[in-house]
Symmetry: C2
DNA sequence: AATTATGTTATAGTATGCCTATAACATAAG
DNA sequence: CTTATGTTATAGGCATACTATAACATAATT
């Protein structure tokens, strides 16, 4: 799975790492049980510091996307706390949809966007 | 319109201001043409520095939600750049929905959430 | 047994962003 | 004339992001 960092982005590097890994799982590019590169290895190939990768992995672990194993490295392992996930999605959506609502984006247009994005999950 | 700041949040104060104002517009608590409190006034009632409010207002202006008038203060004035708004919403949704997808949140559940939130817009 | 690679932790330095504090200015309202 | 407005400038404290070294225990490899 290819990971690309935009060093000119205002988004923190470790956040970019998180998001790309999560999107990789959602799109089935990496699956439950697969291993991610080791902290040092990923840091090397991407060209960033070890600790930045370690931070991303630590948060992904805490949020229930991976588990860290000294033998196998970072392994995809989803902790299925759906209720919590729904609550967090609701909070984020409230802000996101409000912005769209101000710009006259209709409920139907949002649905269409959601459907488009879900098409990529196979 | 009531604005409340959580000083323990890891979200920047000026971002909290932005989001609450945008949600206020979306929910029709404040309407096109209405004025927001002045920079100094809002800073005073909320208990923060003038520049923090100024920063929030400046960004809201740049993003096309308000216009700043020396006579009337910050006036709600939506710049209807819908195409841009749709692009930005798409990018945000891609990250948000990927998180949900990993936690087994279905397309239908997202639609239900969207509908719930749109219910508040009247 | 020795070497290597792993996650983990510690310390320290630099850079950037957030928030505050003061101050000053031109302009419009009262 | 006074007051309140947005705007701009400078400066300091603080937290976060990223990097740089270093060290440690543990597991895999040789």
């Amino acid at each position: 799975m290819l990971i690309e960092i935009d060093f000119n982005s205002d988004e923190a590097i470790y956040v970019q790492l998180q998001n790309q890994i999560i999107m990789g799982i959602a799109m089935n590019l990496i699956r439950e049980g697969d291993s991610l590169p080791s902290v040092r290895q990923l840091a090397d190939t991407v060209g960033i510091n070890m600790h930045t990768v370690n931070k991303a992995y630590a948060i992904l672990k805490q949020e229930g996307f991976i588990q860290l194993d000294r033998r196998r490295g970072a392994v995809i392992a989803i902790d299925m706390d759906k209720a919590r996930a729904l609550l967090e999605m609701r909070e984020q959506l409230q802000v996101l949809l409000a912005r769209g609502r101000c710009k006259n984006i209709s409920k139907e247009e949002v649905h269409a966007l959601v459907d488009e994005i879900y098409e990529e999950y196979r």
